[in-house]
Amino acid sequence: MSKESQLRALVNQKLIEMGERERLKELLRARLIECGWKDQLKAHCKDVIREKDSEHVTVEDLVAEITPKGRALVPDSVKKELLQRIRAFLAQHATL
């Protein structure tokens, strides 16, 4: 295991241990709902499901359709806010 991936694993572990990952997830979810991202994506889901057979939609289908669009639709302000928080966390806990 390279040093970098080891470092990455340690950072992730620290994020989870300190509860910061949960906080970031909640923050992201709240911001995405506020800015209407969830509703936009849900409407897109409706179209996808109507096209395909609505009885036999699988999770994989949805994931393949939704995830790229979801990543693109995140507003810049939300992205900036989250990156700022992550950078602050990394700066605070420079020594693991």
Binding site: E4, L10, L15, L41, V59, I66, T67, T95, L96
Partner: protein, 192 residues
């Protein structure tokens, strides 16, 4: 497991940025996956399309966004200047004054009972003569006991409260009258 003490400060900025972006991507992917699971479950359980009916009904109840009209399409100050006929006194009253007028007209409601009590209290006070005081004091003494008040509704307790206010007034006026009588007696005795 042996844990090495590692330091992030050894990394240069680009690597740090890349790390931050990776963490961010993981979080966004988590959010997307969460949504997918939610939607998939809704589809399988059959409640995903529950808020949609046929196209015609959806057109009928669409949100209206015009000035002067509320979101249902109704004009909202239509009845501000309409007049209603009172069933009691058969007068034509403006709509916004109708409820208070009904309260007074029918003699019901909090305000009208308060006004009536005040009127009774003031008329009793003004028409008080000296001989009547003794009788009224005996009658009013019942109000000081709390047993009868427990059964009474809130309106009656208002009346009792107002009546009990009269008591000190009566006592004072009684005392004044007695003092008056004694004064005249004294004068009379000193003269004779």
């Amino acid at each position: 497991m042996k844990m090495e003490a590692m330091s992030l400060s050894g990394l240069d900025n680009t690597k740090l940025e890349a790390l931050a972006h990776d963490i961010y991507s993981d979080l966004v992917e988590d959010a997307c996956l969460g949504l997918c699971f939610e939607v998939h479950r809704a589809v399988k359980q059959g409640y995903f399309f529950l808020d949609e009916t046929d196209q015609d009904s959806m057109k009928d109840f669409e949100i209206v966004d015009q000035p002067g009209v509320d979101i249902f399409g109704q004009v909202y100050n239509q009845w501000k200047n309409k007049e209603c006929v009172c069933p009691n006194c058969s007068r034509s009253i403006a709509a916004s004054r109708f409820a208070p007028h009904l309260e007074k007209c029918l003699g019901m409601g909090r305000n009208s009972s308060r006004i009536a009590n005040r009127r009774i209290a003031s008329s009793n006070n003004m028409s008080k003569s000296e001989s009547d005081q003794e009788d009224n004091d005996d009658i009013n003494d019942n109000d000081w006991s709390y047993g009868s008040e427990k059964k009474a509704k809130k309106r009656k307790s208002d009346k009792v409260f107002l009546r009990s206010l009269k008591q000190p007034v009566l006592l004072v006026s009684l005392a004044l009258d007695i003092g008056n009588i004694l004064f005249y007696l004294f004068i009379y005795l000193s003269i004779s």
